[in-house]
Symmetry: C2
Subunit: 349 residues, 2 copies
């Protein structure tokens, strides 16, 4: 039996496709009326009632692909470059939840491989996404322009690297670095180190600037900087091993983020047998779930991610509905969350 014949059989019970045409027929109205009842088009109450009733009876669901052909696709691209930092799971959870709340859906774009970023973006643009969220990294200007060329608004999340024409939601990372420095000095540490994230990450650089500036301002001379690498546990562990193997051991370390700090703390404790916080103070940024666990008790600078995600989604949808409104910069401030990893007992050096 041919496939066609099989479909015919099935068709007798369920496979007949329900489109606006069928709904219009049952409701006794025009196809346009059905469309209006389902979109925001103007139509009388009784009309809407009739249409919705017929649609329900037939189990009609609009085809978003067809809808997207003329209007909006209801698809939002969420570009993720960093899958190593556990932070991004709750972030993705919040983005997808809020996007769904807007009656849209998330296309997850995996752009781990940096070389393929433009390729990945080009592909996802073939779906005519209504907007794009870029997490934890800047979009090269040429790609922002490509989006602009198709009227796709872009919002960058949690990165300082600004792109012309793209909105951005991020934290004052210079202030964060400053806060970390002040805290370490207050706790009596005198030889702090900074472990950076990826070389190109402006976010990390800003934290570093704020950190070092503040140390210098306060007369601290004994600082050092260590290039960390990825925002990952392994990178933090590794960098810390190298740092602590040197003759000039720091007495405290500020990490570009929490997952690196966790890796670093484990290196200090388990590989070098150092006591945290007495022999070495550890501080991070983010306040990931792990930071508050008893195993780490990590002092950190908490980023208000929930609010940031909300702001990000809100900004994006505002620009989708009003394309003429310009790009926005929303900068959040963070708070120190002190825990055991820096609570040095009062003691002279």
């Amino acid at each position: 039996m041919s496939t066609k014949a099989l479909q015919g059989i099935k068709g007798n019970r369920t496979l007949k496709k329900i489109t606006v045409v069928e709904v219009a027929a049952l409701a006794g109205v025009s196809v346009s009326a059905v469309s209006r009842a389902f979109s925001n088009g103007s139509c009388s109450k009784v009309m809407r009632e009739k249409v919705l009733c017929a649609a329900k009876e037939l189990g009609y669901k609009p085809n978003r692909l067809a809808r997207g052909l003329k209007g909006k696709s209801s698809l939002i691209g969420v570009l993720v470059t960093d899958f190593e930092n556990p932070l991004y799971l709750p972030i993705l959870q919040q983005f997808s939840a809020q996007i769904q709340q807007q009656n849209c859906h998330t296309i997850l774009v995996n752009a781990c491989d940096h070389q393929s970023l433009s390729e990945a973006l080009a592909l996802v643009m073939e779906y005519h996404i209504d907007g794009l969220i870029v997490t934890a990294s800047a979009l090269p200007q040429v790609l922002v322009d490509a989006c602009k060329g198709q009227n796709i608004p872009v919002v960058c999340f949690a990165t300082n690297s600004k792109s012309e024409g793209a909105s951005a939601v991020y934290c004052d990372n210079f202030a964060n670095g400053k806060m970390a420095a002040q805290h370490l000095l207050e706790m009596g540490y005198t030889r702090p180190a900074f472990v950076s994230g990826p070389v190109a990450a402006l976010t990390s650089l800003e934290r570093q600037r704020g950190f070092i500036n503040t140390l210098v301002e306060n007369g601290c001379q004994d600082w050092q900087i260590k290039e960390g690498g990825n925002h990952s546990y392994a990178a933090g562990f590794e960098a810390t091993c190298e740092l602590l193997a040197q003759p000039t051991q720091p007495d405290s370390i500020f990490y570009s983020d929490d997952i690196m700090a966790c890796g670093g703390m484990d290196a200090a404790r388990h590989k070098f047998g150092l006591n945290v916080p007495d022999e070495i103070g550890i501080i991070g940024v983010d306040d990931i779930a792990l930071a508050s666990s008893p195993a780490y008790q990590l002092t950190t600078i908490k980023q208000p991610f929930e609010q940031m995600v909300s702001a990000c989604v809100q900004t994006l949808f505002q620009q989708i509905s009003k394309p003429e409104s310009g790009a926005e910069q929303l900068i959040f401030t963070c708070q120190l969350q002190q825990r055991a990893s820096t609570q040095k007992p009062l003691s002279p050096i």
Copy 2:
């Protein structure tokens, strides 16, 4: 100046839409030919060359929405119910990467809220997805049927709960429970406990069955079961606190998964001051990144996730291309990954 006028201005340089029509015109061929050159349609080499050349010159990109209207949408739904377990970040990373490799894209469906699962699915089906992957949970039969009704193949990932008509890729969790029991007994533990996942999770139940059966078979009487809850750090921590506060303290605990085990280990160590593994042995399932960190050194049963994801994607695409091929069950076996959390020194009780 009106929006229209502005668009007109922009239009002069970039906004003119490039479609098959423009490409066909430039290449001097028919629209059908352009379509064929871009799909798998039959066309001569020279024709394809001409079309591709013209397309490149114009910067033509096919509109997938339009394409999806008749054919495949190239959209794969990935349903995620559990965003608390960090495990799902690398899993999502692998799924999205492999789906992109198939020239498709991932629609991330957030179905945290169990009540809204059917709603979330109904919405995503409006995009006419080509296939659906369901992670870590079963799809109620009525929803599987709904997918079948639209010819959308379904593959369930990492769950034992089988649904009629859906494929599944998972591990032999009964064997995993057995393995855990054997290991604990071998290491000299005599009063093991099992901390379960969510009550309804068949995966957890299977592990429990295998675990308890094996204990009983080996003459162990002193076992107990504790209901854990979510697959989360907090749930593991909480359940362990209750377990250890009882007079009948276990001397080892098998957790339904690693993140619970990490929470449990922290509770045992930091809240009850117990030495791991001497006073209490800890074993989990999954082998998440954290498990191998020095802070936990967690013995676990490693699930071969990479292979499982590959198998999942492969199965899905096979069913997309051959809808008549039936649902498949792929069962993987796991391996014990021993670490410090169960290495009890030889000692009499």
